[in-house]
């Protein structure tokens, strides 16, 4: 109980920090950033899917270390919420989405050129450490189907269909005929994870990377249908980026071997 509470407090704190917001846009971009090889300076504002928090924070710190004159700021939230903010004109350099639909929405709105895919993620079935529904004990050879892991009467949390992880969840539930099992449609994947950590639900469909970041607080099982419903993560430099050089530098770092390695360590797959 206390351990869960502590975890939760940490999650709330991280969330609060992540909500710090893109107020860097208010600050004047420092001059002396001519085109070419010169090191990027000023403020770089990145809108990224919540599931990218840990990875992007690491890469951002890395970029700041390489460019002491650069200040990287993040706005982590659900991809749909971010896309909506961009449509309303939030001044931003880079947008990284958890699915292609949200990126398409931004591209179609004429805010960014073609995007580049840099990672993918798969859903897993997460469960609390005491595993009240016996998900970990249901055994089957190889990778099981979701239908083998999930009884119809378990309490299940998934993301709402409006957000990327929910779109993926809807697809796998549909494939396995379990569409009527969820008890709640959460507004983002962290909310699903929180409810699993608290033990308020027997299981939740979350990204594999979320389970990695939660450590021992939750258990998880992979399942077959996840492969077909995987999310691909696109990234784009926005047309109206206030700091395009820095934006390009970040995207380059993300697509480099180093970036790939950080992504893999965090549980992401190749696009």
């Amino acid at each position: 109980m206390t351990a869960r509470l502590a975890l939760l407090a940490a999650a709330v704190l991280v969330g609060a920090a992540a909500c710090g917001g893109p107020d860097g846009a208010d600050q004047p971009v420092r001059s002396g950033a001519p085109a070419g090889d010169a090191a990027p300076t000023g403020t770089l504002t990145i809108f990224a899917a919540a599931s990218l928090s840990d990875v992007f924070a690491r890469l951002g710190a890395e970029l700041e270390e390489q460019n002491p004159e650069l200040d990287v700021r993040f706005n982590f939230a659900g991809s749909s919420a971010l896309a909506a903010q961009l449509e309303q004109g939030a001044p931003t350099d880079v947008f990284a989405s958890a699915d292609e639909d949200q990126m398409t929405r931004v591209v179609d709105a004429g805010l960014a050129p073609e995007a580049e895919l840099f990672a993918s993620n798969r859903l897993v079935l997460a469960f609390p450490p005491d595993d009240p529904a016996g998900i970990d004990r249901s055994d089957s050879a190889g990778i099981p189907s979701l239908a083998d892991l999930l009884d119809r009467d378990v309490t299940l949390a998934v993301c709402a269909p409006e957000v990327p992880c929910g779109a993926a969840a809807a697809e796998v539930l549909d494939r396995t005929g379990l569409s009527d099992v969820p008890d709640t449609y959460e507004d983002d994947v962290r909310a699903v994870l929180t409810k699993v950590q608290l033990g308020e639900v027997d299981a939740g469909l979350v990204y594999r990377t979320d389970v990695s970041s939660a450590g021992d607080a939750v258990g998880a099982r992979a399942f077959r249908e996840a492969e077909a419903a995987r999310n691909r993560y696109p990234v784009a430099v926005l047309d109206d980026a206030p700091n395009p050089d820095a934006a390009r530098a970040f995207v380059d770092l993300l697509l480099s071997d180093e970036g790939r390695q950080v992504l893999t360590e965090a549980g992401f797959f190749e696009p």
Partner: protein, 267 residues
């Protein structure tokens, strides 16, 4: 510059900020109206789920108000009239939900009434009752957030009411309970009504504690604010329509109730 005009006028140092204040509060509503997709309004309104979410919102806000009245009015009386120790600490405690982020309130409710919570685990074992992800959870989350509005409002009314009427009742043979029912409560009725309306309005708009503690399931726990928030992620037009419905319902209710008490106060 006639004298009467000067007397009735508003001093500029008050007028300008007041006008800005009105603009600040009203312009966003105008924005909603301007951006409303009137042509597709009918289709949006009859979309499945809208009526359901609206019905759930009204029912749960009303139940939360009822629960707040049952618990909050006696609580306000204790805060305003009793001489128990630590009353000021108690008052601070019960008004905490006013400043607590509702999401944190939702988490706190989990820790008490959740399946693993202090009370919730006992309910589960003893009666097989689990609260989260049910309409009950919606009502409880809304009550948690909205009841302090009622308590504060009723306590203020009790403090403003002339306690000598209670003395009169006592000298006429009324014990404290009878005095409360026959004298105190009728005297503060307008304050109770105002508090109940405030409480209802707050409950109707409740989002954070509800989505945290009760989750989001159409027909069971998806109230209008949750529907608005999720619609905003995919279809901003739908979100505007839903907001408009919520706005219309709450305005209509507030105006209706207001007229009724004004009518009674004058009659």
């Amino acid at each position: 510059m006639s004298r009467s005009r000067e007397g009735a006028g508003i001093p500029p140092p008050l007028l300008v900020p007041a006008a800005l204040g009105v603009a600040f509060l009203v312009l966003p509503l105008v924005g909603l109206l301007v951006r409303t997709p009137w042509s597709s309004l009918g289709r949006q309104l009859t979309a499945p789920g809208v009526g359901e979410a609206l019905r759930l919102s009204i029912v749960s806000a009303s139940l939360a108000t009822l629960l707040s009245l049952l618990l909050g009015v006696p609580l306000a009386w204790v805060l305003a009239r009793s001489r128990i120790r630590g009353r000021s600490v108690l008052r601070a405690l019960v008004t905490v939900p006013l400043v607590l982020p509702p999401v944190v309130g939702g988490v706190a409710l989990f820790l008490v009434l959740g399946r693993q919570g202090i009370v919730g685990s006992w309910l589960d074992e003893a009666f097989g009752v689990t609260i989260p992800f049910t309409t009950t959870a919606v009502v409880l989350a809304e009550t948690f957030v909205a009841m302090p509005f009622l308590v504060v409002s009723v306590e203020g009314a009790l403090r403003a009411a002339d306690a000598r009427f209670e003395d009169v009742a006592a000298t006429l043979g009324a014990d404290r309970w009878t005095t409360f029912r026959r004298v105190t409560l009728p005297l503060v009725a307008p304050g109770v009504a105002a508090g109940a309306v405030l409480c209802w309005a707050r409950a109707l708009g409740e989002f954070g504690a509800t989505i945290t503690f009760a989750g989001n399931f159409p027909g069971t726990t998806q109230t209008m604010p949750l529907a608005v928030y999720l619609a905003l992620q995919r279809d901003p037009e739908a979100a505007i329509v839903l907001s408009l419905v919520l706005l219309a319902v709450s305005l209509a209710t507030l105006l209706l109730l207001r007229d009724r008490w004004l009518g009674r106060a004058q009659g």
